[in-house]
Subunit: 276 residues, 2 copies
C-alpha cells in the first residue's frame, strides 16, 4: 500500500461541495470513483478542506492509499482523462504513510472575490460575488487585519460545523482592490473584465476555519466597506462572540480554497510533497 | 426616433451566435426582446460582428432605434435587469441617425485564447482552447505578422459567409504568451490558472473578417507552433488561396470579439460614442 496526495483545482458551481453526500454530486465522490477505476477496487480519499456547495478550489489537497504501481505522472494523466473538465488534478505526489491532509495541515488560505462596480462581467460570474456599490477597501483591510492572532471566532461560525472549539489562529488577513477594464494594461484582466470596475479580494490564512467563517467575515467586511457598520465594529464583534450580531453570510460562489500548507516532513523523502 | 448604440459583453457558450436564428437562442434576439420591453413595441438591432455559435464578445457594438426618452444610463440599467447574467450591456451611447455599426466600423479586433500546457484550469475552460503541447510562440508571432496588409484571404475563408470579395486589410496581428501559475506574481492570473502553464493569445485587427477567418488562421498557426508546418508556410498559404491547404478551423470557444473601432464623427456630438 502506498500513500499519495492529489492537489486539485475545481469549479464548485455544479457540486454539493467537497464531501460525499447522500444526494447530489460531490467532488470527493468523483475523485474516489476515478481512483477506483485505476485501482480496480473502492478507494476512499480524505480532503484537507471540506469546501461547501458552490465553493471552488485552486489547491485542495487529498490523500489516497493505492496498490497500483504507476508513477505519479501517469496517475495524474489517467485521473484527468476520467474526471470532468471542472475538476482537475494539478499534481500527484508520494506521501508518508501516516500523512493526514487535514490534521497535518499547518494552515489553509482562502480568498473571497467580489466585484464592486455596476456591471458584473460575464466571464467572472461563476466565481465572483457582485456587490454593486463602491466599497471602502482601506477600511475593510484595516478591519480584516484586526482578526490576525489567536481568537475565539464564535461570532463568525454557523451552527452544524461540529468543531470542538471555536478558537483559531489567523496568520494573515487582508483586503485588496484590483483595477480592471479594457484599458487596465493587462491582457488577462481585460479578457475577464472589459467593464470599468475592480475586483475586491479578501484573503485569509489560518490554522483552521469554522463553518462559514470566511463567508461570515466577508459579509461583515462588506457592511463596513459600504458604510453600514463602523470600522471599529470588527474588534467588538469578535469580543462579543455573538453570531446574531455579525453580518450576513456572503454567497458561496465568491469563495475559493487557494492553498493548504504543510510542514515538509510530512511528505515522503523522495517527493516534493504537497505544495507549500 | 433616436439612435443608440449598445456596447455588449457576452459569454457565447449558451448561444447559437449573435444572429437571430430559427432554432436556438441568439444574443441578438435576447437584446431585441429586452429593448422591446422598454419600447413597448418590436425593436430590431444590428450588430457590428456576426459572432458564430459559442464565440464570445467583450465589446460587440449594436445599434437600435427607439422612441423612449430615458437617458442612456437608465436604459443600460433597465436592459441589464432584463438580460441574463451571461449578456451584459457595458454602455449605451447616443449615435447619429445614419450610424451603421458594421458598415461604419473602421476595424474590429479579435483575440483567440489557448492554453498550451498539460492541465487546463477549470476557470478558463469556457473561453480557452486546450492545446496540450508546448507551442513555439515566437514562430507563431512571426507567421501572424506575415498577414498584415491588404491580401486576398480566400485560403482562410469558410464557405457560406456570403462576402462579395475575400480581400481584407489586416492592420495588426501577433501572438503572445502569458505565464500563469499560483506563483506568477499576479493575483488574477493565479485565481484563473493555478496550474503551471501559460495562455497563448492570437490578436488580429482588420477592417473586416471572412467567415471563420480567425479560427482558420489560428488552426494554421498552431500547426506552425507545434512543428507540423514550417514557419514560412503562412506566406505560401496566403498566396495559394486554397482553403483545403490551410489548417483545421480552431474551435469557437477560444474566440472573442474584443473591440469595434469607429471614426469619431459617426457618434452624435453630445456623446462619447462607441469605445475606440
Amino acid at each position: 500500500m502506498r500513500t499519495i496526495t492529489l492537489t486539485l483545482a475545481y469549479d464548485g458551481s455544479a457540486y454539493q461541495g467537497w464531501q460525499r453526500q447522500d444526494h447530489g454530486a460531490s467532488v470527493q465522490a468523483l475523485v474516489e470513483a476515478a481512483l477506483a477505476r485505476l485501482e480496480g477496487a473502492p478507494v476512499t480519499v480524505i480532503g484537507a478542506g471540506r469546501t461547501d456547495a458552490g465553493v471552488h478550489a485552486l489547491g485542495q489537497v487529498a490523500r489516497a492509499r493505492l496498490t497500483v504501481s504507476q508513477d505519479t505522472a501517469t496517475i495524474q494523466r489517467a485521473l484527468n482523462a476520467i474526471l470532468p473538465p471542472d475538476v482537475r488534478v494539478l499534481r500527484v505526489d508520494e506521501a508518508a504513510d501516516g500523512f493526514h491532509p487535514r490534521f497535518d495541515a499547518r494552515s489553509k488560505t482562502y480568498q473571497y472575490w467580489m466585484w464592486d462596480a455596476g456591471v458584473l462581467p460575464p466571464s467572472v460570474r461563476a466565481w465572483c460575488w457582485h456587490v454593486p456599490r463602491r466599497l471602502d477597501v482601506a477600511a475593510m483591510d484595516r478591519s480584516a487585519r484586526a482578526l490576525v492572532g489567536r481568537h475565539d471566532f464564535a461570532a463568525f461560525q454557523s451552527t452544524g460545523g461540529g468543531a470542538k472549539t471555536s478558537t483559531r489562529t489567523v496568520l494573515r488577513a487582508g483586503v485588496s482592490a484590483i483595477a480592471c477594464g479594457l484599458d487596465a494594461g493587462d491582457p488577462v484582466r481585460a479578457r475577464l473584465a472589459p467593464a470599468e470596475g475592480r475586483f475586491v479580494v479578501v484573503e485569509i490564512e489560518a490554522d483552521g476555519f469554522l463553518r462559514h467563517m470566511v463567508r461570515a467575515i466577508v459579509g461583515t467586511l462588506v457592511e463596513i466597506g459600504d458604510g453600514r457598520r463602523a470600522e471599529a465594529a470588527m474588534t467588538a464583534l469578535l469580543a462579543g462572540k455573538d453570531r446574531g450580531a455579525t453580518g450576513a453570510t456572503a454567497p458561496a460562489h465568491g469563495l475559493v480554497l487557494v492553498r493548504v500548507a504543510y510542514e515538509s516532513e510530512h511528505a515522503a523523502d523522495a517527493a516534493p510533497g504537497p505544495p507549500r
